[in-house]
Amino acid sequence: MSRRYDSRTTIFSPEGRLYQVEYAMEAIGNAGSAIGILSKDGVVLIGEKKVTSKLLQTSTSAEKMYKIDDHVACAVAGIMSDANILINTARVQAQRYTFMYQEPMPVEQLVQSLCDTKQGYTQFGGLRPFGVSFLFAGWDKNFGFQLYMSDPSGNYGGWKAAAIGANNQAAQSILKQDYKDDGTREEAVQLALKVLSKTMDSTSLTSEKLELSEVYLTPSGTVKYHVHSPDSLSKLLVKHGVTQPAAESS
């Protein structure tokens, strides 16, 4: 169709589109999904692990969720190698801010700063855009708990609930129906598990295929980022009744 305008990221098509950016979003649409939900006492991030093989060396480090700073974490969907670069960039940006101002970087500023980096790859340099979408979850003293979604174009938005990756449109529509303002963190976890179980391609939901994390305030007032262990996840799956294989749940 408009093949002549595909190869360079830095030019518009006649219809005013940036094809490379759209192709990047296509790549993300095939990757494992991630959902983020904002509640009044925390933010919940859940991710679907696409590659689960017996041969994979189990490591303690997460595949979908990463800590950016003590008060901000993110979930990724897309090309993992691109994600690693951007996560490192975000971490360094957060530390640079803290070094300069001796306080934690406000969440929106961190997201904006990273998105400015992503935007650079759509306007100059002739390099392809990053094939990653992020869900940032964090807390700062100005705006409390926040959830942001960003995509390869460098656009970002603040959301109450958002989904990225495979089947994100289906997930987003379920979230639109079922999301309640001022829910608790527990309700957010339940909603996240429910939405993911409905939109995931695989037949059954087990703790090996998921990663769940929460950002919340401890009673002493510090922000905590907690990744659930596989055992804790299994218990939650049973508790919220989403662990039955597809045959039973239909």
């Binding site: 303690t60 480090s61 800590k67 950016i68 700073d69 490192n88 971490r91 360094v92 530390q95 640079r96 803290t98 070094f99 001796q102």
Partner: protein, 204 residues
Amino acid sequence: MSIFEYNGSAVVAMVGKNCFAIASDRRLGVQLQTIATDFKRISKIHDRVFIGLSGLATDVQTLYQRLVFRHKLYQLREERDMKPETFASLVSAILYEKRFGPYLCQPVIAGLGDDDKPFICTMDSIGAKELAKDFVVSGTASESLYGACEAMYKPDMEAEELFETISQALLSSVDRDCLSGWGGHVYVVTPTEVKERILKGRMD
């Protein structure tokens, strides 16, 4: 007067039995005038590594902030805390980067390594490491501190005795140095807890 003596400082660290203690004075001066009596020279990097910085106060603060920067990134990437030996190498490298325009500080690093083995070291302002098995000192009161520690130190002291020893060594040394003093700040770190104490000494 040398630039290292502009603000005045005294820092000392000692090794005990599966524990360590690190102590500093609290005076911040501008040559002969005392400006503050609660200046923090010792800072925590993580629960098992502490760094005390003597020398020019502005470099003490900035160097510490730079070390926090590097350690935070290390923690995020490696998903673990830095070992004290590794941290000492990092400090040494950062100081040497500024070989021809150095940070005017002398760090004292103290930490608990693997198997709860205490580790202490000091270095000069361009990163020459000096490891010791017993005690390390730095600051304007360092000569007095060397004497006091040599006389009072004995190996394998428990936490409480170590606290008494390091406090006596610090207070008697800063009393002989007009640029340091106004109390003391002592951290005694064992595998299970960190005890922070303020000492009241001669307030002059």
